[in-house]
């Protein structure tokens, strides 16, 4: 729905005499294009700023060692550059938080979409937005000072810095993302489908779970994947609460380190350009960027694949 100039005609030839204000239009178009170019420049910048130092890094460290090594000790003697502990740490946290966010998020979405009365929804939806707006540093603080002691009181033997607290809080943080996208997907399901279900004698729960959710599945999956990608890229919560001990473990009660936490802890603005320390930031950053990019590509493909066409 764009405002193409109707006087231009099909083949781009002018159907009317030349206007006086043409140069003004061209100027405006130029400025607008420049504005749009900023975003392209940003991407170019990100790619270049990651690739160049990462390239230098991989000249000193073989990519194979980097991707398959199981010890991450880049700044020690002897230095070891296996990124797996960081990747595993990231995935453990992301998966755990997904386990929290997905069911709860879809549950909230179903409630808002199928059950809630408009008055309740108008209160609950902003409340959800508030949850989404809480700065992650506050969430990290909450994880360290409230959730970890709480878990211990409940008898779960978590270390002071552990993956579980971070994952729980991260999961709750992602509920609004999953919920709002899922809810949009469900709202797009035509009423006829629901009516058909009721006509056949199904109750609300059956209609919701057996008809609406499957029909909205492409949007819901997209929501899942987006939330997962955000979990992978999250920094503050894990930096404060999950620890800085890179190790390969699947026990969420232990201390770990994620890719983002490593970058955040190491790259605090003081690292000297050109040192191996500096380059590890970019190597890990590139890995992180590649992973989130791949996840996003996946989400787009999934949405296209499962899309049901109505009418």
């Amino acid at each position: 729905m764009s405002a193409q100039d109707p006087t231009l005609g099909q083949a781009g030839t002018l159907a009317l005499p030349r206007r006086r204000i043409r140069w003004g239009e061209k100027l405006v178009q130029g400025i607008l294009f420049l504005a749009a170019a900023v975003s392209v420049l940003t991407t170019v910048g990100i790619v270049v700023s990651l690739l160049v130092p990462a390239g230098e890094f991989f000249r000193e460290v073989s990519p194979w060692d980097f991707l398959t090594g199981t010890t991450w000790a880049p700044l020690f003697e002897p230095a070891q550059f296996g990124v797996l502990p960081l990747v595993v740490g990231t995935f453990v946290i992301s998966l755990l938080s997904a386990l929290v966010a997905f069911p709860l998020g879809v549950g909230v979405a179903i409630y808002l979409s199928e059950y809630a009365r408009p008055r309740a929804a108008s209160v609950l939806k902003p409340a959800l937005e508030i949850l989404a707006a809480i700065p992650t540093v506050v969430l990290g603080y909450f994880a360290l000072t409230f959730v970890t002691p709480l878990l211990r009181d409940l008898g779960v033997q978590v270390e002071i810095f552990n993956a579980l607290s971070a994952s729980l809080v991260l999961g709750v943080m992602l509920i609004p993302t999953v919920a709002s996208l899922s809810e949009d997907a469900m709202a797009a399901v035509p009423r006829d489908l629901r009516q058909g279900g009721y006509a056949l004698g199904a109750d609300k729960l059956q209609v919701s779970t057996r008809i609406v959710v499957p029909a909205a599945i492409s949007g819901i999956i997209a929501a899942f994947v987006l939330a997962f990608a955000r979990a992978v890229g999250e920094t503050m919560i894990v930096l404060i609460a999950a620890g800085q001990l890179p190790q390969i473990t699947f026990d969420p009660r232990e201390t770990i380190e994620t890719m983002t936490a490593f970058i955040g802890a190491t790259g605090n603005g003081d690292v000297p350009t050109g040192s191996i320390e500096y380059k590890t930031i970019f190597a890990v950053g590139l890995t992180l960027f590649a992973i989130t990019y791949a996840i996003n590509l996946l989400s787009i493909r999934l949405v296209r694949r499962f899309r049901e066409v109505y009418e």
């Binding site: 910048g45 990100i46 809480i134 700065p135 909450f142 920094t235 503050m236 603005g269 950053g285 992180l288």
Partner: protein, 266 residues
């Protein structure tokens, strides 16, 4: 379903209450008037609060014009068949998904080191602008798309140029949507910590920040206080969090208010 709601909102409630209760003792005028200190009894967050406001201002002044103009370009001017326009569209979607810390890396490499701006407020503002720019663009595009085509066609029929149509008809109608989106993006920028850590928001800054001077922002200050084991600093962190939440939530409230107030019926 109910369980899901309870968990989600219960946690929100617990977090807010816990932060409020913990931070209350330190939530006094001193927080706003004093600078950080090694003695928690004398510490305040004034430089950090000011820096956060300045950063917000920079983000507002930069991201809104660029974002809105980009959205206008994509919605009103760009020929979808051109490959470069499709590239820009896909690009923006991708940028929205990039973790904020990668923007921090970008900032470190180019703005702090490359251009040599250094660890100053302006650099932090520029990077935060880039972080929220995709969000502003997406929100603005939605707002522009919501304007019915009939409005445009009517204006063209009356002889308006493309820019006149955009400036006089489309934009005014889209402003509430854009404002909402921009304010939400802004509130996110204000709460961001990771990119600022990467570009050097320093630990101990005991004076009011200026545009080209060293600084520390409120989220970073909270982060630093959280790391201190002394419980008084933890309380301070909570108090700082209350202030930050206050800023962020009031921005969100304004955005929601705007959205509800100006919801157009076409």
């Amino acid at each position: 379903m109910l369980f899901a709601m309870v968990v989600a909102f219960g946690t929100l409630a617990v977090l807010l209450v816990d932060t409020l209760v913990t931070g209350w003792p330190q939530l006094d005028a001193q927080l706003f008037s004093d600078s950080p200190s090694t003695q928690p009894e004398e510490a305040g967050a004034r430089p950090a609060i000011l820096a956060t406001l300045y950063l917000g201002l920079i983000v507002l002044l930069l991201s809104v014009p660029i974002g809105v103009l980009t959205a206008i370009y994509l919605e009103e001017y760009a020929d979808r068949k051109r490959w470069w326009n499709r590239l820009i569209e896909v690009n923006i979607q991708d940028l929205a998904a990039v973790p904020s810390i990668v923007y921090g890396i970008l900032g470190l490499a180019f703005i702090v080191r490359g251009v040599g701006l250094g660890r100053v407020v302006l650099a932090g503002g520029l990077i935060l602008t880039l972080v929220v720019l995709p969000t502003v663009v997406v929100a603005s595009r939605e707002a522009i798309r919501a304007v019915p085509d009939s409005i445009r066609q009517g204006a063209f029929a009356l002889g308006a140029t493309q820019w006149q149509v955009v400036w006089r008809q489309v934009l005014p109608a889209a402003i509430p949507g854009m404002a909402t989106g921009s304010i939400l993006a802004l509130s996110r920028a204000v709460g961001e910590t990771a990119p600022l850590i990467m570009v050097g928001a320093i630990v101990y800054v005991a004076f009011d920040p200026t545009l080209l001077g060293p600084y520390t922002a409120l989220p970073v200050q909270i982060y630093n206080w959280t790391k201190q084991p002394d419980p008084t600093f933890q309380t301070l962190a909570a108090a700082g969090a209350i202030v930050l939440l206050g800023i962020v939530l009031s921005m969100n409230a304004v955005a929601i208010f705007l959205r509800n107030r100006y919801r157009k019926q076409w």
